[in-house]
Structure formats: structure tokens, C-alpha cells
Symmetry: none
Subunit: 204 residues, 4 copies
DNA sequence: GATGAATGAGAATTCATTCAT
DNA sequence: GATGAATGAATTCTCATTCAT
């Protein structure tokens, strides 16, 4: 993350910054990035629109930092899972669980990611989104394929299609999940895994 | 659909209208409604921005008509399924299949719906989105609950959560589905249903 | 000059464009480019600030077009002089005379050039200013050096310094010259040449 | 120079002030007054923008002080010349020489003066610029006219035009002069005077 | 003397929309 | 049906300036 003239990411007193980013993320998630005006963010933060520019270069750089921070943390979790050598089924379970935990902690960022990443990824500045996306895809496909090879997962399903369904369902949950609601992330993960692994039909 | 001063919906030359709406839908889907300028649509249609206003009241009315048309057709299909008395499992299968078919025919509209409906639904003008949404929810919940009661679907899953997962996965497919690609809508539906009904894990 | 989406330089109906550019040039010359707001230009042109953007991409592109147009015309004149084979003294006279004529026709553009070109030349977009500058320098230096070689100009003067003095004096005239004032450009050129060639001191 | 609330001009630590003004002058000269932000000056001085306001009332007051200081010193020199009773030719030579010396010492201030004085002079605060200008004009015109009367200068040249040419050429040198370059101010003055007095053409 | 965080008044620019032709 | 030219409101961003600490 670049530092130019403004204090950006200086490490010193990132408290206000982080607070402002939380506010911005909330608004972006709710109204969409384009539909959000900096004035709305500033209002929400109790300051004037221009004042935001003391802390950030631009509206876009806020977005970038929100997504970057989120993906950094996400991959900390994913990498730990992937290096744990859990076997295909265990890995899948851990990835899903980890994902719902991230949704719990970064609901707004996930919602933004979900809605905007396709368009953003085309911009150089947001190339990291595309990178993350393909790393993500590789991790999932590998896991699914190993599972099929190990006869843990069915081999009559199209792995790529399955990947897409799983990927989307997990993340789209950010659009309805409310932290502190009736279901904990772990509970949601359990239910989701049960559905995806064993299906919703009763076995005879 | 309202008529004000302009010939709108006059029945005369609805061909051009429909063509323009298709163009608009494509652009809305690709760039997002807010990020789309009427000029982009007009460029795509080979005319000047101002000229669109001969055909439509506003950018918003284009959006409305796109979504309305789509939902009308969607419910034609759904209603037929729901009235066919297929039983819970059959209904679920038919609803999913119908959905993928709609994605095939109205990919752009579905993508727009997916991305914008939450925000739009708050506006009076787009109240029909909320209506459709709740009708949709009722249909699905009823189907799932009847399935549980009939011991066709597992009763250890939270019906509401299951509904959300199924709902989202189906529609989110619009974001990656390309008509004329390798998978037909029927094939995608079959794969999806297989996963959701029986799970991806191998049964012992 | 690039054409993207806007009618720019389309050749069709350049009347309004040219008029607007004249207005803009006048204001830029009077207040300085940075100190000029697009609103001022628009006011002067009897329209709203935003309306200017129907005709031009940006304030900067107005500036660019003003300077480019001016330099194009200027070099038409200079090239004709340089190719006429007039000999050093004749060439110098013709260049000076041509310059004052250009000041007469493009007073505003010359004033802008004079004041802003140094800063602008650093920007890629205004690289043509630097090019013109060095072409200009080459033409003058060559003329002066040939004059010295031919014993038409004194050889005890530093050619480079002389060039600078001559160059600046000519152009700086744009800051006080008023078209239609008491002195015609030809008269000014004659006086200036008399001073530079023969000096202001009385010969004994 | 006014004192309001801040210690300004207190005599205490005028060193820092002078240093800051030198820095500001440098930046103003390079980027233009309007295009210069107080932050750039502060950066250059190793402090934050707000801190400048401990030393100065405003950006404008920095500019005023820079120009005032320069003109005060300039007139010290000019007045000495004008009172020395050197005769028209000697006076002209001394004025030019003095001017190039001032450019050597106050390059930045001269460059600023050259670029901004016309606009500034309109403001009440900068009325001293106009005063200086007219005093300057009077001194030159008187000298030239006396020279013509004494048959030291040619009488077939328009005195006013000659004045303008001389005035501009001298000052515009600030735009290319670099202190410590190959030519000393005295050398430049000599060359310039030789050109203006005797012309660049070879005498037969 | 200096910092950090803000203010507030513009600035350029965008864009949906209008309307005479 | 369409064009060309404009409107006007909103938007992002800039920057001189203030002030408590």
C-alpha cells in the first residue's frame, strides 16, 4: 500500500482511520460504492466531506484499503487452513467455516467485494482482487479434485460447476447475514456444510 | 406501467423499444445501473443520449421496464410450476430448472435484479420487487416445509437458512452464466439439483 | 489532436467552438490560466459552466487547443520565411516582422504562451511546446551564426545571449500590445529592428 | 507592513522568517503563485502547512513581503544611480547594470514580479507595485528623452516603444538567468548594453 | 513553535434531462 | 424520430486557513 504525502497507514494513530474506514465500508455495503457520496460517509462520521481528504486520498482509495485489509486477513485464515493438511473433506469444511467467520467479522467488506469486485478487477489498482480470485479458485478446485480422486467426493459432478455454486453461496450470505443475529457463523457453516455434503433429501 | 406524455408503450413500433431495452439491460448488467450513463446506452444503440427520451421517460423507467418484463415472465413460469401439484421434490426440481431457464433467457435482467434489487425495493416505484421477493420466499418456504412434513427433505436443517442458500445460489449463477456456453440451462439445473438434493459427499 | 466521443474538431460547425476558444483565450490571457475558472469563461460566453463540457473535454484541453492552433499558424509563417532564402539580415527582419504580426492576430494566445509555457512544457500533453521552442531556438541561432559568419552581424556578441534577448523582447510585446492601437505591427517591427540592428546610440 | 496578532516582524528570530520567505519565493517563482499551495512551501521548509501561519498571516502576505522587500532594495540601487548625475548614456548603463545585479540577487522575486505583477497591481494591497512601475517608467522615459535632447540617443525612435523593449528585455532575463552560471551579471549587462546601444549589425 | 485534525468555500467535472429545430 | 446545444444539480476533490493541544 503506497504512502505519498498524507499520513496514510503510518501506523501512528490508525484509530481514526480505521473508524472512518469502518463507517465507509458500512455505507458502501448498504448503498453501493457508486451510489455512495463522500458526503454521506462524512455525515455518518460527523465531519465535512472535505475533511475526509485529510485522511484519505480519494473515495477510491478508501475502497481499496477496505478490500485490501479484508483480503489480507482472509488469506491469513485460508493459508493456515490450506497448510494444515486436513484432507479434502476436512479442508472443505475448514474453508467454509473460515469463510463464514470472515463474513462475521467483515460483513461490509464482503458485501462490497461481492457486489463490486467484478467491475473493479479490471482496473490496475484493483488487480489484487483478480489475483485473490484466482488463488481462491485454485485452492477450491484442488481440494475438490483431490476429494474426487480420494473417492471422498462424488465423481459424477462437474468440479467447476460445483466450485462456482459453493463459492457463491458462501459469499452471498454476506448480503443477509447480520452479526449478532440468531445464527452464529459456526452454526451457519455447520448447516451449510451439511447441505452441501449430504444434500437436503432424506436418504432411504 | 404508467404513460405520461410521450407515445410510450403505444403498441406502435414496440420492436425498437424492445431492442433499446435489450441494449440498456446489457449495459446495466455489465457496468451496474448507477455507473451506466444514458450516453453509453445511446452510443451502443447508435443514437444520441437525448434521443432516448423520445422512447423513454427516464433512465429509471428503462430499468423499471426491464425488471418488470423479466419478473412478469418469470412468474408465468413459476405459477405454472406451483399450480402443477408436483409434490415437494418435484416442485423444487421444477422451480430450479425454471430458474436456470430464465437466467438463460434474461441473463442481463437477472444480473441487474441480483445486484440492484435490494436498494431499489425501498423506492415506491419498485415496490413490485419486494412483492415478488416475498411471493418467491413464500413459495419456496412452503415447498421446503411440505417436503419436511412429507419426510422427503431432512428435518434437521433450518428451513430458512436452506431457503436462502438455495435462492442465492440459483440467481447468482447469472453472474457467470454465458448463454451458448458449454452447459445448457437444463444441464446446470441437473448438476445443481444433484448437489443440493444428495450432497457432494460419497455415500457409504 | 485526439477525437474521442465528443464532436471536437469535427470540422462541422467549428464556429461555436472557435468563438468559445477565443473567449477562453481572452480570459486566460487576462487572469492567468490557473486563476481562471471555467465559470468565468462560461459567464463570458453567456452559458453555464457545465455547458462548456459539451464542447470541450476539460479546461486543459481548451488551453491545449488554443496553444496548438496558435503554434500551427505561427510555424506556417516561420517556415515560409525560413525557406525563402533571404540571407541572415533579411531572415532576421522577416522573423521579427512575422512575430509581431502573429502577436497582432493571436495576442491572447501569445500572452498565454509567454506566461504558462515553461510550466506546461513539462507535461506530456504539452510536449509540443518544448518541440516548438527548440525548433525556434535552432532557427534563430542558425540565422544569427550565419550572419556572424557572413560578417553581417557583429562577432563580439554572445550569440546565445543575443538570441535570448531578441526572443524575449519580441514575445513579451504581447503583454502590452493592443490590436488597433497607435502602432501597427509592421511599425513596431520596424522600430524594434532598427533598435536591435543599429542600436539606440547616435553614431559619430 | 501590518502587525495583527501574531508576533510577525517582531525582530525576534527574523532569520527563520527570511529563510521561509526565500523558500516561498523559490516555489512561487517555479510554479507560479496560484499554482503553489502552502503545503508545498511547508514541505520544502520541513514543516506542516498549518505551522506557516505562526510566521505569516496568509499566503498573500508572504507574497507581499517578498515583493516589497525586493522593490525596496531595488529602489535603493536605482535611486543611487538616478541621483548620481551620470548623464543619459551613463544613467542608462548604470540602470541596466543595476537591474542585472538585482536579478542576480533576487532572481525568484523578479520572476514572480514579472509573472504576477500585472494582476496583483489591481489589488489595493499591492498598489505599491503600480507605484513602483510608474516611478520606473518615469525614470526611464526621462533618461531616454534627455538622451535624445542631448543628441546621445537617436531621435527617430519612438521613446515609449524603446522604453518598453528595454524594460522587458532586462526583466525577462530573470526567467533564464541562473546565478552562478557562465555569465556574471556584469557580463550580461555589458553584452546587453552593447546590443541595445550599438546594435547587432556590423557598421560599414 | 509546531502538529494534527478539521473547516468551508470553491474548483472542475459529470450527467440525466429538456427542447427548439 | 433524431440532433445539437444547453441546463442545473450534484459530485469529487482542493486548499487556505483555524485552533486546541
Amino acid at each position: 500500500m503506497p504512502t505519498k504525502k498524507k499520513p496514510q497507514v503510518t501506523g501512528a494513530a490508525p484509530a481514526r482511520r480505521r473508524e472512518l474506514l469502518r463507517t465507509a465500508a458500512e455505507v458502501f455495503a448498504e448503498q453501493g460504492y457508486n451510489a455512495t457520496t463522500v458526503r454521506t460517509i462524512a455525515d455518518q462520521a460527523g465531519m465535512l466531506a472535505g475533511s475526509l481528504y485529510y485522511h484519505f486520498d480519494s473515495k477510491e482509495s478508501m475502497l481499496e484499503e477496505i478490500l485490501h485489509t479484508f483480503l489480507d486477513e482472509l488469506w491469513d485464515g485460508y493459508d493456515a487452513v490450506l497448510e494444515a493438511g486436513l484432507g479434502p473433506r476436512g479442508t472443505l469444511q475448514a474453508l467454509v467455516t473460515e469463510s463464514f467467520k470472515e463474513i462475521d467479522r467483515h460483513r461490509a467488506a464482503v458485501a462490497i467485494y461481492q457486489k463490486e469486485s467484478r467491475q473493479l478487477a479490471a482496473q490496475e489498482r484493483f488487480a489484487f482482487l483478480a489475483e485473490s480470485q484466482s488463488k481462491f479458485e485454485k485452492a477450491w478446485l484442488t481440494t475438490l479434485e483431490r476429494g474426487v480422486a480420494d473417492r471422498v467426493f462424488r465423481d459424477d459432478l462437474d468440479v467447476r460447476l460445483t466450485y462456482r455454486f459453493v463459492r457463491d453461496t458462501v459469499w452471498v450470505a454476506a448480503s443477509w447475514y447480520r452479526p449478532g443475529g440468531q445464527h452464529s457463523p459456526e452454526e451457519i457453516a455447520r448447516q451449510y456444510l451439511s447441505m452441501v455434503l449430504d444434500g437436503i433429501a432424506v436418504r432411504e
